[in-house]
């Protein structure tokens, strides 16, 4: 079964994938379905609706649907295809404050980077899940004490720490 991680560890997935909103469950629908709209979407609360987007879509094409959803799942077709990192940054910059989920065969070595770019949860497929120990995911999250970059989430920025050490 796919496994869902967040910063605290492995968590239960309260969402279901479908082509249209399900009556009793929070549902993640494809971007194309959401954009074409229709009566299925009438009156669905954003809290119960998520959208799955491919990683070659322009984020300005996603922006109009963001008010309708509380979750965006960004596809990683391969762990080596890093477009999703920038998509997450852009969605956060566009003001999206719901849940950002990375879906695909990403690896534990990328966990901290994914969170830093704005993702909250990582959904890995069976093929990765069977090989990768959740303990490795937790260890990789704690591995580095700081990073050089400013303006990313998660661990402390070395530039900020140096600034603090200078007393201002």
């Amino acid at each position: 079964m796919p496994r869902l991680h967040d910063a605290s560890g492995v968590i239960d997935d309260g969402w279901t994938y479908a082509d249209a909103p399900l009556p009793n469950q929070p549902t993640i629908v494809p971007l194309a379905a959401l954009k074409s709209g229709g009566p299925d979407f009438d009156g669905v609360a954003p809290a119960r609706l998520g959208v799955a987007i491919p990683n070659d879509v322009r984020t300005d094409a996603v922006a109009p649907v963001l008010p309708q959803v509380s979750l965006v799942a960004v596809d990683f077709p391969s762990f080596a295809d890093g477009r999703g990192f920038s998509i997450a940054r852009r969605l956060r910059a566009a003001g999206f404050d719901g849940v950002l989920r990375a879906t695909g065969p990403v690896i534990s070595d990328q966990f901290a980077m994914l969170l830093a770019c704005g993702f909250d949860t990582i959904e890995i497929p069976d093929e990765i899940e069977v090989r990768q120990d959740p303990a490795d995911w937790s260890a990789d999250l704690e591995r580095f004490s700081a990073r050089y970059q400013r303006g990313y989430g998660g661990r402390a920025s070395i530039l900020e720490a140096r600034r603090a050490a200078r007393g201002g």
Binding site: F79, A80, D81, G82, R83, F85, S86, I87, R89, R90, A93, I107, D109, Q110, A112, M113, A116, C117, R131, Q132, D133, D136, A139, D140, R143, F144, S145, A146, R147, Y148, Q149, R150, G151, Y152, G154, I158, L159, A161, R162, R163, R166, G168
Partner: protein, 552 residues
């Protein structure tokens, strides 16, 4: 030069631990080979033809004697007693064992070095001018900017899984000695009309199978906008660069396909949308780094040195070396000198552990403890008192490091080629050796004058053949090595890509072909003209005729 603080040191240590753990997880099966490969590449570890190869970063080519000695120790202890300096100012060890690599990385960390991002589809080691901080044509020492970028690009959470590798070079001088026009992003430190120092940003240069000269992305970027601007440019590349074909995945292809104007609009729009204050370094951080590159404690000296003059008068070999291998220093009484790693018959860019020790000893005693690696695969002693130059030279002679050929026909750039590299389609090193043998006479080399031959053993162009005055590209034609020749390439301010002469030549023919090209130049040149100038004046025709006439 830059020294690690606790944060730099911790990060490098944590990275070594991470790699150790990645090796463990590969062995356990938690990571597949496909997953492990990019991780090991981002730690500088390649699997080559015969063995692993570890590429160690020498940020912007600057290192001290302690670091050079540690490289020598590593080469002796875990390798075969030598290393290979590369066109990106790094060093490669050709024979490490996988199990030793974490220990080698530990040994590097001890002297504030690492192999992080020397390979892989990420931002690579930042390169710069080997004469930084001493050249007379310099606006500002580019190493402060290069170090700032080194840190910013290290383990960047957003830009570590790019479509392809990404190379940045910085120059602070009016003469480009860092080949910034053939980098993914080239940065020139410039002064605008108001007198402010900032950056001229170039994008989309590169060699490889589709060589291109970089285009101007921004004429003047205020200095405090550097990191936000890089973030914007990298984000556009990461989002829109092609991923369907690795041979079309470099930023140069994106810039070419979109057109520089559309690409610029995208970058500028992204840049405008950023909260720059959150991303940019604070000025105190830049000042902190800059302090490490403050000039060393130079003595106040007359520019003229009687000791040097006397030595020049009595020792013609020394005089030749001084004329050929030294570079003017902005401080009176000092010179910079290039140690050529191109002895006749040697492998270009190789140095033995003993030679590394010799270079370290000389630098420590006589060059303010500093060494530079050049993209021509040589080493520079940046700050030598003219009074001490003869002593330096005699020590170089004793170490076999006195080849007086900097910039001449035997100062050849060559990639490792088929002798080491799994990508190569032909040999490079023996071709360089044969050409050097042919032109072994120092007198003849000096009569020929400045001439850069660059050899790549495959289309990926690690030997920069496209920007050689004479470029040589080794290919495989139906199982036989075939060498294509290009003429007129230039990596400097007047950057140009070489033009192909025509069909390739067999391995054995190459020295003859080069000799005929050189003879054609000698016959056609006007007073004081270099090979490149003559080529630009007379064009391809006479050269082509000289090398193909026989066959016709």
């Amino acid at each position: 030069m830059y020294r690690y603080d606790e944060f730099d040191a911790d990060l490098v240590r944590e990275r070594v631990d991470e790699f150790r753990d990645q090796v463990r997880r590969r062995i356990d099966g938690a990571l597949t080979e496909a997953e492990f490969k990019p991780l090991r590449l981002m730690n500088g570890l390649y699997l080559q033809l015969h063995a692993y190869m570890l590429r160690v970063a020498i940020p912007y080519g600057t290192l001290n004697s302690r670091q050079m000695r540690q490289l020598a120790m590593i080469a002796e202890r875990w390798d075969r007693g030598y290393g290979h300096f590369t066109t990106r100012q790094n060093i490669q060890l050709n024979w490490p064992k996988l199990r030793d690599v974490p220990d080698i990385l530990d040994a590097l960390a001890e002297v504030e070095m690492h192999a992080i991002q020397t390979s892989g589809n990420c931002i690579r080691n930042v390169t710069s001018d080997p004469f930084a901080g001493l050249a007379t044509d310099e606006i500002e020492d580019p190493r402060t900017t290069a170090e700032l970028i080194r840190q910013w690009s290290t383990m960047h959470p957003e830009f570590t899984f790019l479509g392809r590798k990404f190379k940045i070079a910085v120059t602070g001088a009016s003469h480009d000695r860092a080949a910034v026009r053939v980098h993914d992003i080239g940065i020139e430190i410039v002064r605008n009309e108001a007198g402010d120092v900032g950056y001229r940003m170039l994008v989309g240069g590169g060699l490889g199978r589709t060589p291109m000269i970089g285009k101007v992305l921004r004429e003047f970027l205020p200095r405090q906008d550097l990191l936000p601007y890089l973030e914007a440019a990298l984000r556009i590349y990461n989002l829109y660069g092609r991923r369907d074909n690795k041979y079309k995945a470099r930023i140069k292809i994106l810039v070419h396909e979109l057109g520089i104007d559309t690409f610029r609009e995208e970058v500028e729009a992204e840049f405008a949308s950023l909260d720059r204050a959150i991303i940019a370094e604070d000025p105190a951080e830049r000042a902190r780094i800059a302090a490490y590159f403050a000039p060393p404690d130079f003595a106040e000296l007359p520019d003229e040195s009687k000791m040097l003059d006397a030595a020049l008068a009595q020792d013609p070999d020394f005089a030749t070396w001084v004329d050929q291998n030294t570079f003017p220093h902005r401080v009176p009484g000092y010179l910079a000198a290039t140690i050529s790693l191109k002895p006749i018959g040697g492998a270009p860019g190789d140095a033995t552990a003993e030679q590394m020790h010799a270079m370290a000893d000389i630098a420590e005693a006589l060059s303010f403890d500093e060494l530079r690696i050049t993209h021509e695969q040589n080493v520079v002693l940046p700050h030598i008192r003219k009074d001490a130059l003869y002593q330096v030279w005699r020590r170089l002679v004793a170490a076999g490091l006195d080849a007086p050929n900097r910039g001449l026909v035997t100062d050849i750039i060559a990639c490792p080629g088929l002798d080491y590299c799994s990508l190569a389609t032909a040999r490079s090193i023996p071709v360089a050796q044969d050409i050097a043998q042919r032109f072994a006479s120092v007198e003849r080399q000096r009569q020929i004058g400045p001439l850069a031959i660059k050899i790549s053993g495959c289309i990926n162009a690690c030997g920069h053949h496209h920007v050689g005055h004479i470029g040589i590209l080794g290919l495989d034609k139906a199982g036989a090595e075939s060498y294509q020749i290009t003429l007129g390439g230039d990596p400097t301010n007047t950057a140009a890509l070489g033009e192909r002469t025509g069909p390739g030549f067999g391995y054995d023919q190459v020295p003859d072909v080069i000799e005929r090209l050189v003879d054609t130049y000698i016959g056609a040149r006007e007073e004081g003209e270099t090979f490149l100038q003559t080529y630009r004046r007379v064009g391809m025709a006479p050269f082509k005729e000289a090398i193909y006439a026989e066959a016709a």
